[in-house]
């Protein structure tokens, strides 16, 4: 696996890390791949096979991201990946950071890297759907979201996004209605979504009546 789209600064850093931590890299080699049964979105963050150091580094990076320190977060996730290249979560976080600047190519690269490690990593698929939608590739977006909900049926965000996509961009109100409902079932209790469901139900019904009327007239 190659390291996609890293800045020169990261590359030079990576080189020094390789020099200093050759032993460390060797020690981490056994963590390169994980048992299939322990993979998947929403996996327990405290999964026992994750080396504590990896967990710690990842969490530190994530905390910078959560705090809005994107520069530091980007650096740390990249450093993390130099030592633990097989965790897609880090790539998705990098994709989030790159997408903020509108860098489609970098974003796409990070997502491809994540999906290369785990083609069914739902957060990555969701981000891919977002990326496609932003660029008007609505059917590609739908495919990504659908794959996310297929491989991770409990991944609610994808249903939410499928709702938006179907309603606004694909003009498929009944599909939108279904996905918003799914979202509500999974996430639960979103009042705004609840209103949208009601609106959609009404519009779908109206459309159906109009359609029936059209059928009757014809």
């Amino acid at each position: 696996m190659s390291l996609p789209c890293f800045s020169d600064r990261v590359r030079s850093l990576a080189r020094s890390l390789i020099c200093i931590g050759a032993l460390l890299v060797c020690g981490c080699a056994s963590t390169g791949s994980l048992p299939d049964g322990q993979r998947g979105a929403g996996g327990d963050p405290a999964a026992s096979d994750v080396p504590p150091r990896a967990r710690a580094l990842f969490d530190q990076a994530a905390s910078f991201l959560a705090a809005g320190d994107f520069t530091e977060a980007e650096l740390r996730f990249e450093q993390f990946l130099l030592q633990f290249p097989d965790y897609p979560g880090a790539y998705v976080n990098l994709a989030l950071i790159y997408a903020r600047d509108g860098g489609e190519a970098a974003t796409r690269s990070a997502l491809d890297a994540a999906l290369a490690i785990d083609p069914e990593f739902a957060p990555a698929l969701n981000q891919l759907g977002l990326l496609h939608r932003r660029h008007g590739r609505f059917h590609d977006a739908e495919a990504a979201y659908l794959k996310a909900v297929t491989v991770s049926p409990e991944y609610a965000l994808a249903h939410y996004n499928l709702g938006v996509l179907n309603e606004l961009y694909l003009q498929r109100l009944d599909a939108a209605l279904e996905h918003f409902k799914q979202y509500q079932e999974l996430a639960g209790g979103d009042r705004q979504v609840e209103k949208w469901i009601a609106d959609l139900k009404r519009r779908v019904a109206a459309d159906r009546r109009a359609a029936n009327l059209a059928d009757g007239q014809s």
């Binding site: 929403g42 979560g89 989030l96 785990d118 957060p123 969701n126 660029h135 965000l157 694909l170």
Partner: protein, 939 residues
């Protein structure tokens, strides 16, 4: 042996010796009489030992003692006489014989006489008589001596010393000219044969005696018998040294004999007598000498014909004898001395015929042992040839020429490899040339020049051969001349090669080189020409110039242009400045040589070399007519090399040098390409403009050139130039529309860049108009451009609309704004009608905006003054009522745009439409996807 015999023999020998000494050489004055006058001299003998004097004294004493015993006394007396005689002789030998007193002999004589008288029957009286004769003779009393000897011969014919006695008698009788008696005495002496010590002397004197008696024929036999003994079996040499092998005395004896024989034969019938005699006697080995001697004698006597016949007689009877040729030579010599030229000539021919090297003579006689004969053959051949050569030169008769040539040829046939043969061969060639037999003269000159080791005439002959070649060539017909001329050239080369030092060598070579060149034999012409110019010391300027001309032209014709060029430089340096035409031709050839080198390099793919050649003509021959083509070709090669900067430099220079060149258009095109390739856009564009305005190019080419120029100007950022070119395109090439409209589109961009709004608007209208008039050429692209233009044209209308404020009195401002709005709607509607997606979404969005802003403007418009709250509320309700459908219209238009998203249209205007809808209908449209802010799972 007794002493007296020795003395007599000594005396006899002395006689012949003195005679020989005086006649060692034959002289004309020598005659038989001269022999008679020879004096007899006594040669002193050896010394007498002292013991003889003692013995004599003893005998004297003995006689005194035993005078009574007759035998003893006789013996003693004889002994005493002998001793007395010996004593006298000894004294004579010791002193001068002339001073001897006569009475000394008398003592001995008296003793012998006493003895004879006393003892007449003494058994040894033969000895006493002999001694007595000696005593008389010694004392000069020869008459008495002869009497005693006669008595001795008569009384004692068997005495052991009878041969000597007879010989001495012969001698004494010969002196007294009693030749008959002498002849008998000598004959008797000789009759004792070879065992006698007096045999040869006797033969000799017998011959002479018979000669004196004029019995010539009879004299021959003893002489020949003597010669047989002296020179039989002896190898005789030739000429004056023929008797060198003999001792001096014998030599003289033989010579005397030869001499007297010759005289005898001359008194007889000459050579015929020799033949007669030898027929009877047998042919001795030295027979040729006898003939030779006789011939020589005749010659002395100036009897030339007799001499010749004598010599010839021997040759005639034994022509194969080793000495025969020498006598034949003497024949010639005799005729020559006698002044008989025709006989000499005939004799010489005979000689050559007989003893030429192919004759049978040489089968028997090896050449090595007969070198003198060989020399005579050569000499005679030479004489004959030169004789006729001289005659021919004098009289010019062909027969003489032929004869001279015949003899020269014979010489060469006989002596093909002799040192002298070369010069003879040269003479043969000369005579052939003089007789105008040029073909054979050529052969012989060549043979003279090249067949022999180098000799004095070698090079002269070599050159003469060439002259002969030329002479003969004139007589030949066309066909024969070709082959002959080829041989001539070969000979010329050979000459120059063999005799480089010959003064004509250079001229010959030059001439050959020219010939070879004119025959198209360039390889050889070059080789020969180079030999000329390489000669040391150098040939003169004229030859060198000719040679360099040949070399240069031949190299050129062989396509060896580099070598040709060098040669032309050499030629140039030898061509006088005054010969302007020649110099011009040479310089033209230099230029051509260089150009051809360029062509060859180019064809071989060596373009760099080709360029070097093409461009250096300008330096070498700046005035050359081919220079223009060469420089053009240089540029083309540089272009092929993609050496753009160098190519354009050359091309620019070319254009400067040859503004009216036929290549002008092509140069322009090449320059254009070069500038493009070297990134000189502006320069390139200028060239393309040139192309576009050149009448020789097709319309398509010109149009394309303009386009290229415009692109290049655009790249260079030269907007004004670009605009000029594009305007030209639009003006000159309205068709095809597809291109024309692109030009207009680009002009639009230029107007925008220049901030020229008026022009920009005009450009936009042009585009719209062009599309509308395109007819069947209308395309998606024209439509797109027209649609885009139309929406651009809508922009100012929209801005004017937006700029209008609704102010009180509202009626008026609304009316104005509504009017403006209708205009805006119209332009956007028209733009949307093009059916170009991006334009349609833009137009739709802008239309929506028009409705939305009009609605908003209405709502925000200035309220009428002086309304109370209620009225104001009613006014606003009324306003809302009025604006609501307008806002609805806007929403519908936005939705028309957003609905296109499902069809894949999601451009700027669709996105903006979504945003407007999210503002205007947030409950339905303000929906944003959700994402984790941060992904917390590792996998």
């Amino acid at each position: 042996m007794n002493r007296s015999g020795t003395v007599l023999a000594t005396i006899a020998a002395a006689v012949t010796l003195s005679a020989s000494a005086e006649t060692e050489k034959w002289h004309a004055k020598d005659t038989i009489e001269s022999l008679e006058s020879r004096r007899v001299e006594i040669d002193p003998g050896g010394s007498i030992p002292n013991s003889a004097a003692l013995a004599r004294d003893n005998y004297r004493a003995f006689l005194d003692l035993v005078s009574d015993d007759p035998d003893l006394r006789a013996e003693a007396m004889r002994r005493l006489g002998d001793l007395e005689l010996e004593a006298i002789e000894a004294r004579q030998l010791g002193e001068n014989i002339e001073s001897l007193a006569p009475h000394g002999y008398d003592d001995a004589v008296e003793l012998y006489r006493e003895l004879l008288a006393a003892y007449p029957d003494y058994r040894r009286n033969d000895t006493v008589l002999y001694q007595l004769a000696r005593g008389y003779e010694t004392g000069g009393r020869t008459d008495e001596a002869l009497v005693v000897l006669n008595e001795l011969a008569g009384r004692y014919p068997d005495t052991p010393m009878i041969d000597e006695v007879q010989f001495r008698r012969g001698e004494m009788l010969f002196l007294r000219k009693q030749y008959d008696d002498a002849e008998a005495a000598y004959r008797a002496a000789a009759g004792f044969g070879a065992s006698s010590r007096f045999f040869e002397q006797s033969l000799y004197k017998l011959g002479w005696t018979r000669f004196k008696l004029a019995a010539h024929k009879e004299s021959l036999e003893p002489f020949f018998a003597l010669l047989d003994r002296k020179i039989g079996g002896v190898e005789l040499l030739d000429g004056d040294k023929r008797l060198e092998g003999l001792g001096r005395a014998e030599r003289e004896l033989v010579e005397d004999t030869f001499r007297v024989l010759s005289i005898s034969f001359s008194y007889m019938d000459g050579a015929a007598s020799i033949g007669d005699f030898m027929e009877a006697y047998g042919q001795p080995e030295y027979a040729h000498v006898i003939y030779m001697n006789l011939g020589d004698l005749y010659l002395e006597k100036q009897r030339y014909v007799d001499a010749a016949r004598t010599y010839e007689a021997f040759v005639g009877q034994d022509p194969l004898h080793p000495k025969a040729p020498l006598l034949q030579v003497e024949v010639i010599e005799a005729y020559r001395q006698g002044g008989f030229p025709s006989l000499v000539l005939e004799a010489k021919k005979n000689f050559v015929d007989r003893y030429g090297m192919t004759g049978v003579f040489w089968v028997r006689n090896p050449r090595s042992q007969n070198t003198a004969v060989v020399a005579h053959v050569k000499a005679n051949l030479t004489d004959l040839a030169q004789h006729y050569h001289a005659l021919a030169q004098l009289g010019g008769k062909q027969v003489d020429y032929r004869e001279a040539a015949r003899w020269y040829r014979k010489y060469l046939a006989f002596f093909p490899e002799d040192p002298d043969s070369a010069s003879t061969n040269f003479l043969l060639a000369e005579i052939l040339f003089e007789s105008r037999d040029f073909e054979n003269a050529t052969k012989e000159y060549e043979r003279t020049a090249y067949f022999y080791p180098v000799h004095g005439k070698s090079s002269e002959a070599g050159y003469a051969a060439l002259l002969a070649y030329r002479e003969h060539e004139r007589t030949l017909d066309e066909h024969a001349r070709i082959a002959w001329h080829r041989d001539y050239l070969d000979s010329g080369l050979r000459f120059a090669d063999a005799f480089p030092e010959h003064p004509e060598s250079g001229a010959v070579l030059t001439s050959v080189a020219e010939d070879l060149f004119s025959q198209g034999d360039f390889d050889l012409a070059i080789a020969v020409g180079r030999a000329v110019v390489a000669k040391q010391p150098p040939v003169d300027d004229t030859l060198a110039r000719t040679a360099w001309t040949v070399i240069a032209h031949a190299e050129f014709d062989m396509h060896n242009f580099a070598d040709a060029e060098v040669a032309y430089y050499e030629l140039q340096s030898r061509t006088p400045g005054s010969d302007a035409q020649a110099r011009a031709e040479v310089r033209d050839r230099i230029a051509s040589s260089i150009y051809k080198q360029g062509e060859i390099a180019r064809d071989a793919g060596d373009l760099e070399a080709a360029v070097t050649h093409f461009t250096r003509i300008a330096d070498a021959v700046p005035e050359s007519g081919i220079r223009q083509t060469a420089e053009y070709d240089a540029a083309a090669a540089l272009i092929n090399l993609e050496a753009w900067d160098r190519a354009s430099a050359v091309l620019e220079e070319f254009r400067g040098n040859y503004p009216d060149s036929e290549f002008a258009d092509d140069v322009t095109q090449k320059l254009a390409v070069s500038y493009v390739k070297s990134g000189q856009s502006v320069a390139a564009a200028r060239e393309f403009e040139r192309i576009a305005f050149s009448g020789t190019n097709t319309a398509a080419v010109r149009r394309e050139a303009l386009w290229t120029a415009s692109t290049l100007y655009e790249e260079a950022g030269l907007i004004v130039d670009e605009q000029r070119v594009l305007d030209a395109i639009v003006a000159r090439y309205p068709d095809p529309i597809a291109e024309s409209i692109e030009a207009r589109f680009r002009l639009l961009g230029i107007a925008e860049a220049m901030g020229d709004h008026a022009q920009r608007e005009q450009r936009l209208r042009d585009i719209v108009q062009a599309d509308s008039q395109a007819g069947t050429q209308r395309s998606d692209r024209t439509r797109f451009l027209a649609a885009t233009a139309s929406i651009e044209l809508a922009e100012p209308v929209r801005q004017r609309f937006e700029g209008l404020k609704l102010t009180q009195p509202l009626d008026e401002s609304v009316r104005i704004k509504r009017q403006a709005m209708e205009e805006v709607i119209e332009v956007y509607t028209r733009a949307a009608e093009y059916g170009v997606a991006s334009v349609t979404t833009a137009a739709t969005y802008h239309l929506a905006e028009v409705y939305r802003t009009f609605s908003a403007d209405l709502m925000a418009s200035e309220r009428p003054h002086g309304l109370d709250d209620l009225a104001l509320e009613q006014y606003e309700l009324l306003l809302e009522e009025q604006t609501f459908p307008i806002e609805e219209q806007a929403i519908e238009l936005y939705k028309a745009n957003t609905d296109r998203a499902a069809g894949g249209v999601y451009d700027e205007w669709v996105k903006r439409s979504f945003l407007r809808l999210a503002e205007m209908m947030p409950a339905r449209y303000a929906k944003t996807e959700r994402s984790e802010d941060v992904v917390t799972v590792l996998f």
